[in-house]
């Protein structure tokens, strides 16, 4: 078992190793073991199904953080015909934790932006573990405004634990620049598609995630707070992150149910790192299809739809003033038919995602 494999995969990985052994035995000795191999393969398929069909939210968080998971630049290399990386925020410096540039998607120029994690320790240090500083977000804003000037659609690939919580990051306006990025994205007159490919950590993710369409990979997570920090706040114990992961409802399926995302990009069995090219193909398919729909839209209609996409998000009761609430506690309830409650059920946005464009 490799260091990057998970404990819960162990029976499967051992079985896969056994199959490989038998296969090489067949090749080397010329003994026909195909019956046994077929039997084991069937068992492996079964096991894979059992393990990966019922992953817990925390297991998905771990898959999203798998060191072998494709990074933004790897997706870019696989998905686009060509790519020119552009650098710098024109104010302070180039942030290697945020990459972006102009690419070609099936012949069509687009702007691509996303946080970039490192492949190894050395690159991770250079890229600050993919945690952008304000200048990273300023670069993103610059590239998005550039895209708008040339009518280029924007694609953001999101994989970020969060905006970097550092002294200089605070000094240079981390909060302010996130607000500006969010506001800018809400106003751009070109189509925007976001795909959460790995981690969607709070404001640092949303800052590049205000889009006309938002998709998530099957094992990605997206949340207001990381499970560790949530566990720290709730129980003063970050080791209880697995429990917090379940509470926060941060999986792709959760966000689909909550009406936050438009679709889920399937991953190969076992996670994106098991077959990077297949994962990239799945992402590309979604991008091409969604772009086709969005490019047909008039910019005013596009902006209005984007506004409404976020305008409707929120869960609250309407028509429930405090006086009424306390009256109910006194027992004066049930005088009005349930249906008349109107706002009582106005859980706006929840469970009503925009129709998938299929």
């Amino acid at each position: 078992m490799a260091a990057t494999d998970f404990e819960w995969e162990r029976p499967l990985i051992e079985l896969e190793e056994r199959i490989r052994e038998l296969e090489s035995f067949t090749d080397q000795r010329g003994i026909d073991l195909s019956e046994e191999i077929t039997r084991l393969k069937r068992r492996a398929d079964q096991l894979r199904e059992e393990i990966f069909a019922n992953l817990t939210p925390w297991q998905r968080v771990l898959l999203a953080r798998h060191p072998g998971r494709p990074t933004t630049l790897e997706y870019i290399a696989s998905i686009f015909d060509e790519f020119v990386e552009l650098h710098g925020d024109r104010t302070f410096r180039d942030d290697p934790a945020m990459v972006g540039g102009i690419a070609r998607l099936n012949g069509r120029p687009v702007t691509v932006i996303g946080p970039q994690k490192g492949r190894d320790t050395k690159e991770n240090i250079r890229r600050n573990f993919g945690l952008p500083h304000p200048e990273g977000y300023r670069k993103a804003i610059r590239l998005m405004e550039q895209a708008e000037r040339f009518g280029r659609p924007i694609i953001t690939l999101i994989d970020v634990v969060g905006a970097y919580p550092g002294i200089e990051a605070e000094q240079r306006g981390q909060g302010l620049v996130i607000a500006e990025a969010i506001m800018t994205m809400s106003q751009l007159r070109v189509p925007i598609i976001s795909v959460v490919t790995g981690e969607g950590g709070s404001g640092g993710a949303l800052a590049i995630g205000v889009a006309d369409r938002v998709w998530m990979l099957e094992n990605a997570w997206y949340s207001v707070i990381s499970p560790e920090m949530c566990a720290q706040i709730l129980w003063k114990d970050s080791k209880r992150a697995p429990e917090a992961a379940s509470l926060l409802r941060l999986t792709a399926r959760d966000l689909m149910e909550l009406g936050i995302i438009d679709g889920i990009v399937p991953e190969p069995m076992g996670g994106a790192h098991r077959d990077k090219e297949a994962t990239a193909r799945n992402v590309k398919e979604v991008l091409v299809r969604e772009l086709q729909v969005l490019e047909g839209m008039d910019p005013d209609a596009l902006l209005e739809a984007r506004y409404q996409r976020y305008r409707r998000i929120g869960a609250f009761a309407e028509g429930q003033s405090q006086e009424l609430a306390s009256r109910r506690e006194d027992g004066e309830e049930g005088q009005v038919p349930e249906e008349a409650g109107l706002g009582g059920q106005a859980v706006t946005g929840v469970g009503s995602p925009p129709a998938p464009s299929e």
């Binding site: 207001v224 706040i233 405090q322 049930g334």
Partner: protein, 291 residues
């Protein structure tokens, strides 16, 4: 019982004289969490202060100028013309969309403690006789955090202000940032309120954002940073990441005055630091310069 109340589907309808609007007098504020009794120690200079005296000084230490946090109703009294406030959207109430443990109880306790229905109250008011659309946060309400109700109230505030061509003043005290207990729905309120500010800008009326102690995380990283003019109270903590997180991540000693209003002013992130007794006058002056 409480849970029923929050899980949605209350079995009654509300009939307001004018939907979404009701005149409301400031309710008496329950005693704050601060230690009871006649005396308390100043967090700024450790002087023992007489509580009455502090009240007469807008909750500011007469010795060192330390600004104690104040509640929503007290802020309203200090900032708006007497009796000018009409509350909007008070009928929007929180639900518990994720079934988050302890959340309904937390909200009910906060309501009892603050006398407010949620972490922000919005409405129409006048400041030195100038009509404004006003939003006021209370840190004592779940840390002044922004969940669905806060996001919706602020959004409606900006939308209505645009329709009625009113300037907007929002006094933030959103130390809790985006409200954890509503998960991703809270995060999305950052997008909802920020785009509302962008739309509001079309009407060319000013949005004055006042940051008070503490304004952090998702509140700071959305509408509160998008004011045409950003004012902060002296000493107010303003920032994105909490100081403990910054310290744990960087393992560095935080600089003197890190994330204070003065620090933000020096770093070019805000326009003005204005002491509480001057706030009303300063806001009014800025409003007049836009009329």
């Amino acid at each position: 019982m409480l849970k029923d109340l929050f899980r949605g589907r209350p079995r009654y309808a509300t009939i307001n004289p004018t939907p979404g609007e009701s005149r409301q007098e400031p309710r008496p504020v329950a005693p704050k969490e601060a230690p009871d009794g006649l005396w308390l120690k100043c967090d700024g200079c450790e002087t023992i202060l007489y509580r009455k005296e502090l009240q007469q000084h807008a909750q500011i230490c007469p010795k060192c100028g330390y600004h104690f946090r104040i509640g929503g109703w007290e802020r309203l009294e200090q900032l708006a013309d007497e009796g000018s406030f009409t509350v909007w959207e008070d009928h929007l109430a929180s639900v518990d969309p994720l079934g988050f443990p302890g959340y309904p109880e937390k909200v009910v306790q906060a309501q009892a403690r603050t006398g407010l229905s949620e972490a922000v109250i919005v409405g129409r008011a006048a400041i030195e006789e100038l009509p404004v659309a006003l939003g006021i946060f209370d840190f004592n309400f779940v840390g002044g955090s922004m969940g669905s109700v806060v996001g919706e109230r602020l959004t409606r505030l900006f939308e209505r202000a645009e329709a009625e061509r009113l300037p907007v003043v929002v006094v933030s005290a959103g130390g809790g940032g985006a409200r954890m207990q509503e998960g991703i729905l809270s995060l999305m309120q950052m997008a909802k309120t920020s785009q509302a500010v962008a739309r509001y800008r079309r009407c060319r009326m000013p949005f004055i954002s006042v940051l008070t102690d503490p304004t952090m995380g998702g509140v700071y990283a959305s509408f509160a940073s998008l004011g045409d003019v950003i004012i902060a109270e002296p000493g107010a903590r303003i920032g994105f990441a909490g100081p403990r997180i910054v310290q744990e991540t960087t393992r560095q000693v935080l600089p003197e005055g890190f994330q204070t209003a003065e620090y933000a002013l020096q770093n070019g992130m805000i326009d003005l630091v204005v002491p509480r007794p001057k706030l009303r006058e300063q806001v009014a002056q800025l409003l007049r310069l836009h009329l």
